[in-house]
């Protein structure tokens, strides 16, 4: 649009630059994440008091390693859920990429590790693209589509793998060491995960397309009215999530002993649960990848913590379930209180 035609008055930015620069603490984490952070801190604190070994270097390392893979997947899922979709195929997709990793190392023993990473990420993105394409072009709920691809991906995995399993010995030591070696006290794969999660969170907060995802989840109809390319954005979210799952799959192969036909089975609901616990509303519009990652950390830590303080292991799953319910309940109560305050304020 040319200046001569443009007529609407526009605020002069320089003039309006406020002196009222109150510092805003909403940097990476919004306050939605504070309950889960608090819960995590309390959990770690109490567990430590009960059993100091929990925070010994080895305990800390185990803690981080356990959570790493789930954290990456939860971060990816946060992207999807924030658009009011869900991806249930992540467990199966992880299995496929983990098996790809094993296959690559077994077939080309001298393959550079970075190539394997790229291949895994590319495959994950491809699987995500299949989901994204089906969801956006067929306009059917992501839940059904990804429930379908959950089965299909798993089927392909079993077909491909058969009874083949790749073990630690099939992989170069350098690759296995990624999940062993420490850098400033943190396992390398955890560092990779933290970087990735930070990037995703920054994307969510500081990129236009990232903000569009929230708009879509907040009100899909309004997003269309506003001219947000809903299909393209949702597709991108699925591809990105797929790529993250691909990364998680490669790291899984580094971390765990064996990869085969059933690797990653049943992870999907855990991942969704982690995102929900981390403040990502299942109806979309809010929540961050970082929050979801912290949710994943909390869920995995709780298992370790309960073992550590000697709580009967049979209680662990029940506690996890209670935690999921508590977190959505807290969120709901906060919303209700906010609505009531708003009504009071206007009256």
């Amino acid at each position: 649009m040319t200046d001569t035609q443009t007529a609407l008055p526009r605020a002069d930015i320089a003039a309006s630059a406020r002196t009222r620069r109150r510092w805003n603490p909403r940097s990476l984490l919004s306050k939605r994440e504070s309950p889960v952070v608090l819960a995590l801190l309390l959990l770690v604190l109490f567990t430590y008091l009960a059993n100091p070994r929990f925070l010994a270097p080895q305990g800390l390392k185990d803690l981080m390693l356990n959570a790493t893979i789930m954290m990456i997947m939860a971060a990816g899922q946060a992207l999807i859920i924030s658009t009011r979709s869900v991806d249930l195929s992540v467990g199966s997709a992880l299995g496929l990429t983990a098996f790809l990793t094993g296959t690559l190392f077994a077939t080309y023993p001298s393959i550079p590790i970075i190539v394997v990473f790229l291949a895994g990420i590319a495959m994950g993105a491809g699987l995500g693209a299949i989901n994204g394409l089906l969801v956006t072009t067929a306009r059917v709920p992501a839940m059904v589509i990804t429930l379908g691809t959950l089965y299909v991906f798993r089927g392909v995995n079993s077909w491909w793998a058969g009874s083949t399993q790749y073990f630690a010995g099939d992989r170069p030591d350098a690759f296995g060491n990624l999940s062993v070696s420490l850098l400033v006290g943190i396992p390398i794969i955890t560092i990779i995960a933290i970087i990735v999660i930070a990037v995703v969170t920054l994307f969510q907060r500081y990129s236009r397309s990232g903000r569009d995802l929230y708009a879509i989840g907040s009100d899909p109809d309004a997003a269309i009215v506003y001219g947000i390319p809903v299909g393209r954005r949702v597709f991108t979210a699925f591809v990105t999530n797929g790529a993250l799952v691909g990364l998680a799959g490669v790291l899984y192969a580094s971390r765990f002993n064996s990869v085969g036909a059933v690797t990653g089975t049943g992870l999907e609901l855990q991942v969704v649960a982690a995102a929900v616990v981390g403040g990502v509303a299942i109806v979309g519009g809010v929540g961050t990848a970082a929050g979801a990652a912290i949710g994943a950390l909390l869920l995995t830590t709780i298992t370790g913590a309960l073992t550590s303080v000697g709580v009967d292991k049979f209680w662990q799953q029940a506690v996890v379930g209670g935690l999921i319910l508590a977190s959505i309940l807290i969120d709901r109560l906060a919303t209700l209180r906010r609505a009531r305050n708003l009504r009071k304020a206007t009256s």
Binding site: N51, R53, F54, P57, Q58, G59, K61, D62, N66, S158, A161, G162, S163, Q165, F167, A168, G169, G176, S179, V180, F256, N257, S258, G260, A261, V262, T263, T265, T303, G304, T307, S308, G310, K313
Partner: protein, 361 residues
């Protein structure tokens, strides 16, 4: 208007088709009733239509779950045995997960297929029982292997080794490795696995009664469900919950591999001893890097091999499963059915850095 009649029409079509389908299945059923009905004789030659030809025998292996390396070795031996023993067809079917109920529908399908011998490693001794009974009623012979089904519903059980031997050899190894004293723990498969529980029971008895082990204390038993990730995390949990742990026995191949992987990447490597039952191929790198000194196993291929021959002997009527019955298991020579219909394959082998390269399974 058009839509009204359309709706009604489709409804009627649906109703007719449904009725037809019931009729059809019913008719089809009556027509083909005879071949596999239970009373067609318990004979080995009852195999139906396309297995045609009088004495054709079929055998089907149903492992705990497919896609498991140990299972693959067992089944490899089984296939070889089946061929040598003279089975016309041999098949492997099974679930992808080792849950209690998942084997039942496979047994059902085999029952209906008129398979002569079903060889099964039971995920739950009771869950498969009713289905196995039905298969027997249909004329099939049931060989349990690896993990026993309820003795009421199988003909024989081919056991790797004498359960007590397995228990003692593992205790011996752990005792040697931790110097005869200290806390130990057991990382098992599923809590209901018959074989695991039997060994654990023998180990507990032995620990209590044998003065050699008086300083060894079993502090914890955990279950990794033969799932790599779960076993891995259970191993972690064991270390954290039991700071004084000296050794771990994991009498399952998945469990020992996962535990070894955890130990080899942790500060406990070389400090906490690990032994149990493992596959040499899976454990080789851990033996070589010093995480594991010594572990044991029988030759899984022999287990499958003997099972196939036992099935043949049952089908031929050579044995009936009662104590004292004898049959020849190919290269493995003569085997005798012991008490409760149990057939023992052979003694376990210990694997360590010196001999592990000689084995490939």
């Amino acid at each position: 208007m058009s839509s009204t009649s359309r709706g009604r029409l489709s409804l009627k079509v649906g109703a007719i088709l449904f009725a037809a389908s019931l009729a059809l299945t019913a008719c089809g059923a009556t027509v083909n009733d005879s071949p596999a009905s239970p009373d067609t004789s318990a004979g080995t030659d009852a195999s139906p239509t396309e297995n045609a030809g009088g004495g054709d025998l079929s055998i089907t292996f149903i492992p705990k779950q497919l896609n498991n390396p140990y299972t693959d070795v067992v089944l490899g031996g089984g296939k070889k045995g089946a061929e040598e023993a003279g089975f016309t067809t041999s098949n492997v079917v099974g679930p992808l997960d080792a849950s209690a109920s998942s084997q039942v529908s496979f047994i059902n399908a085999e029952t209906q297929a008129g398979t002569s011998v079903i060889v099964i490693a039971a995920n739950d001794p009771d869950a498969v029982c009713a289905a196995l009974k039905e298969a027997r009623a249909g004329g099939a012979k049931i060989v349990a292997f690896d993990s026993d089904a309820n003795p009421d519903c199988r003909d024989v059980f081919v056991s790797q080794v004498v359960a007590k031997d397995v228990a003692t050899i593992q205790l011996e190894m752990i005792s040697e490795q931790i110097g005869g004293k200290g806390d130990i723990a057991i990382l098992s498969a599923t809590a209901n696995a018959t074989n695991q529980n039997e060994w654990i029971k023998f180990m507990e008895e032995e620990l209590a009664s044998n003065p050699d082990y008086k300083d060894i204390k079993l502090v914890s038993k955990v279950y990794g469900d033969d799932d790599d990730t779960k076993s891995f995390q259970e191993a972690q949990g064991l270390m954290q919950a039991n700071p004084n742990l000296k050794g771990i026995i994991s009498p399952t191949t998945v469990g020992i591999a996962a535990t070894a992987r955890y130990l080899s990447t942790s500060e406990y490597k070389g400090k906490v001893a690990l032994t149990g039952l493992g596959l040499p191929n899976e454990m080789r790198s851990f033996v070589k890097d010093g995480t594991v000194k010594e572990f044991a196993l029988w030759d899984p291929a022999q287990l499958g091999y003997v099972s196939a021959y036992a099935g043949k002997a049952l089908a031929d009527g050579t044995i009936t499963g009662k104590s004292g019955d004898k049959f020849t298991a190919g290269d493995m020579g003569e085997r005798e059915v012991g008490e409760n219909g149990i057939i023992i394959v052979g003694p376990p082998v210990r694997f360590n850095a010196d001999n592990i390269d000689k084995y490939d399974f």
